[in-house]
Amino acid sequence: MTTTSLAQSTPSRRFDVLYWLRRLSRNFILRRVLMALAKIYVVITLTFFIVRLMPTNPIEAYVNELIDQYGFTYQEARDQAAALYGIDLEASLWTQYLEYMKNLLHGDLGTSYRSKGTPVAKMIAKFLPWTLFSVGVSLLISFTLGMLLGMIMAYRRGSVLDHVLTTIASIFSSIPNYLVGMMILVFLGVQWKIFPITKMRGAMSPGMKPELSWAFIKDIFYHATMPILTYVLTTIGGWMLAMKSNTINTLGEDYVTVAKARGLKESRIITSYVGRNASLPLFTQLAISIGFIVGGSALIEFIFVYQGVGQLLLNSINYRDYPVMQGVFLVITIAVILANFLAEFVYGWLDPRIRVQ
């Protein structure tokens, strides 16, 4: 093995960086982006046809609603619906598909059938932030808190605290989140009247202006309290248990024993040796859970009457508002893919072993 002097190694390292960049762009990032685009395309196409395969089309849905709720006769309802929609559902699926794809390529998600003329993009822009906000805050809380508690449980394993926390964690993580939401609403809201549920409805108080003020921030957190509480309660158990078992495994690793033998301070071992390594695998799970929670947000948002994409999706399904449904699918899919990218990036950043490969 020859030793290269510093003067020699600098240019060769610079060359290395270029080389790696090229390889990376050629192999890694580009391939991932292409794969992601392909996935998005397949999802768009699949959902396009699936939503149109659903029984009852938008007009029928509206007709049924008019008859059910307003007592219209079928003919009246039919006329009203035709006037409102003014869309050509008779065109072949294929033509519709090509049209949709063409518009999509221009960044146009189409307009809603039901709220006539409203661009889908605008509707999503109105609803999506609330879902991202409530889910994001919840995940942040449950992830950090869960990791912390998980580590404490691992360090105090066998203690009363560990048993109590493990039991609570297992219980809350096995009950469906909407049931937990209902219990919160029924007990804290209706039975014990701790939460004024009628006031807490919606994503913000009526008349509140979105701005960067203390009042606004307080208000949106106030309205998101119950969804966030539900999300946190039902997801934190998973993080706790995962972190506990990872920590126990990490504590058994040679490098932790060696770190102790090296006389390192306990605080340093807990953070940089145990904590960092034990939390690594959780970051991949984080991406999966983002997808799961955003996808399942419909139930929680329905229960708490919270205006997020879940609500938008439910409404659009009921109205058979195809463009909106597809828009929501597209957005959630992209969110999931982005979350995956982010998780991979964070993982690679935290774990040098991945970085090199």
């Binding site: 040679d254 060696v258 102790k260 033998a261 006389g263 940089s272 960092r276 040098p352 072993r353 090199v356």
Partner: protein, 353 residues
């Protein structure tokens, strides 16, 4: 206990003195008595090797010396006296602060399976800094200088290694990094637990040579724990043979290999093939090591021993000095001495045939 003290040179110098150490593990079936009353003295500057097969308690013994036993283990009784200059401390009585300072600065333990001894997410340099800072050494330049010297000593390129992540180094390199790191704070006592297991022959050789080299150049006492008899033959001044949680023989390296007096040591030495010359007959020790939850009464080796008599089944032989630098725990060591362990070999063949 007495016997251990008698072997200390007349000036009473020792680096480490272990007295009647008992360690147990809690298992599902009961208490595993892993170390059962071990006493020994480590003299300044010497290399003492502990040999024995898996489950004999040698690793537990090593871990208990720096109190790194897993939470299921417990030191039931005993003393681990460590001496620096004129001060003598019992490791088992140290508080957390003292213990942390004792580890690595006074006693560096280099583990088996160095493959995994380093935090995978930190560069070697960061881990070196961690170690130094924990013991109050904060001058980066000084640390770097010392580390570079040590790396050269163990034949590593300092620049490259310090910048590397553990996974970028080969197994042999990592083992040498750990050895160098062990010497960073100039500890008077180093414990090596299976330092060459899982390394290839040529790499193993380089590690052994490095160990011998640094041992010559620096002044420290060394405890070597290994199942590999040839490693002890290479490096040890004295060898302690362990069986079923006890020391059965402690002798200088020549006596251990050429004139063993405990039947178990005889069996062990003659079970290992050598390279030079013609093919020799080897023996295997019939039976298997005892269950340490309920070890046999008397001498733990008696169920596998051809010399065993009624006394061996009932009374436990103490470790007694029988010659200069030679202690053995066997009621019949004189017979072994007379027949040169022949009965052990004949017995093994009879059982195998």
């Amino acid at each position: 206990m007495k016997s251990a003290t008698e072997n200390v040179p007349s000036d009473g110098q020792f680096t480490l003195k272990v007295e009647d150490l008992w360690v147990t593990y809690l298992a599902e079936r009961g208490k595993v008595k892993a170390v059962r009353g071990v006493s020994f003295t480590l003299r300044p500057g010497e290399t003492l090797a502990f040999i024995g097969e898996s489950g004999c308690g040698k690793t537990t013994l090593g871990l208990s010396l720096i109190r790194l036993l897993p939470s299921t283990a417990e030191v039931e009784k005993g003393h681990i006296l460590y001496r620096r200059d004129t001060e003598v401390m019992d490791v088992l009585q140290m508080n957390d602060r003292e213990l942390r300072q004792f580890r690595w600065k006074e006693c560096a333990m280099i583990f088996q399976g160095a493959q995994n001894a380093f935090n995978p997410v930190l560069r070697i340099w960061a881990q070196v800094l961690d170690t130094a800072r924990s013991h109050g050494v904060t001058n980066k330049k000084e640390i770097r200088q010392r580390m570079e010297d040590l790396f050269r000593l163990v034949q590593l390129e300092p620049e490259r290694v310090l910048r590397a992540y553990p996974h970028q180094l080969s197994g042999g390199m990592r083992q040498r990094v750990l050895i160098a790191l062990g010497l960073l704070l100039k500890p008077p006592l180093v414990i090596l637990d299976e330092p060459t297991t899982a390394l290839d022959i040529l790499t193993q050789r380089s590690v052994i040579d490095v160990l011998r080299d640094i041992k010559e150049k620096m002044d420290f006492s060394l405890i070597l724990i290994s199942h590999d008899l040839s490693l002890a033959a290479e490096l040890a001044d004295r060898v302690a043979t362990m069986y079923a949680g006890k020391l059965v023989e402690v002798a200088n390296v020549w006596d251990t290999y050429y004139h063993p007096l405990h039947p178990y040591t005889v069996g062990l030495i003659h079970a290992v093939p050598t390279l030079a010359g013609e093919r020799e007959e080897l023996i295997s020790i019939p039976g298997s090591p005892p269950d340490l939850i309920d070890p046999p009464k008397g001498c733990a080796f008696h169920p596998r021993c051809p010399y065993a008599t009624e006394k061996c089944r009932t009374e436990e032989p103490p470790l007694i000095p029988v010659a200069q630098d030679h202690e053995v725990a066997c009621w019949h060591w004189q017979q072994v001495q007379e027949d040169g362990g022949q009965r052990m070999m004949v017995y093994s063949e009879a059982k195998a045939g």
